[in-house]
Symmetry: C2
Subunit: 144 residues, 2 copies
């Protein structure tokens, strides 16, 4: 289910017995962004519309409803709207300088996911693949 506009939000909320409120619409609207955002950034963007505590509560709710995903980048989590049933987050994260490199190689991974979820009768929602280590620059400087 694609969740990319306010109407989808409203549908999901009422289908699940939750009320459609201004705070939830505002929470949703600050989530609209091409980049995953930290909780702090979301709170900051909405601070004159929605209370901090309400943000936490609604983000939790949205996560339970599959509207947002929490992904780990380096050491911290970030939040983003699910824009499809299955998200892709594959990256290399440098332990030394913190640089994050995105990988695109869906094929290998998708095969793998299918084989393993089938085996356990598991319904996938989201996945994340992270490799921590040292980027080319930092590996180089260690050698000297």
């Amino acid at each position: 289910m694609k969740v990319d506009n306010i109407q989808s939000l409203k549908n999901i909320l009422s289908e699940n017995g939750y009320k459609i409120t201004k705070a939830r619409e505002d929470t949703f609207s600050v989530l609209l962004s091409p980049e995953p955002q930290s909780m702090a950034a979301l709170i900051d963007k909405a601070h004159d519309k929605v209370d901090r505590v309400t943000m936490y509560r609604n983000i939790d709710l949205f996560e339970k409803l599959g509207i947002v995903n929490r992904i780990y980048v380096g050491w911290k989590y970030k939040l983003e709207l699910s824009d499809s049933f299955m998200e892709h987050h594959h990256h290399l994260s440098c332990l030394s300088c913190g640089k994050v490199i995105d990988i695109e190689d869906e094929q290998h991974i998708n095969e793998f996911i299918k084989s393993v979820t089938d085996k356990f009768n598991f319904t996938p929602r989201h996945h994340q693949f992270e490799i921590d280590g040292f980027c080319n620059v930092c590996s180089e400087s260690k050698k000297s």
Copy 2:
């Protein structure tokens, strides 16, 4: 490089120009456990030997040196000693009941890691692969 005793710790520290201190040995010793542990648990176990702040600093250092890994289980991170150069953490995590299922399928994943790290000249230390979704039991109960 296997890091499973105090001697390995000492070697790694001095090879990298860091001092061998009692606080670092104590930090290392509370990490010895078959299970990954939360930061809070580590601080608690060592609280009469090592200051909280020093724990944070040394865990950070150990992570940079590849002595510990930080892994995400559900929403929180836990720490554990690396007992080999490359750790394997692959699991399915149920968003509804919280059950965690471990996967063992090294082959697929190892191939993939090699191809992608080679491409970016990245030196891997640790990786983690998590699939969130609904386990067989919870998927079933949703259908009714």
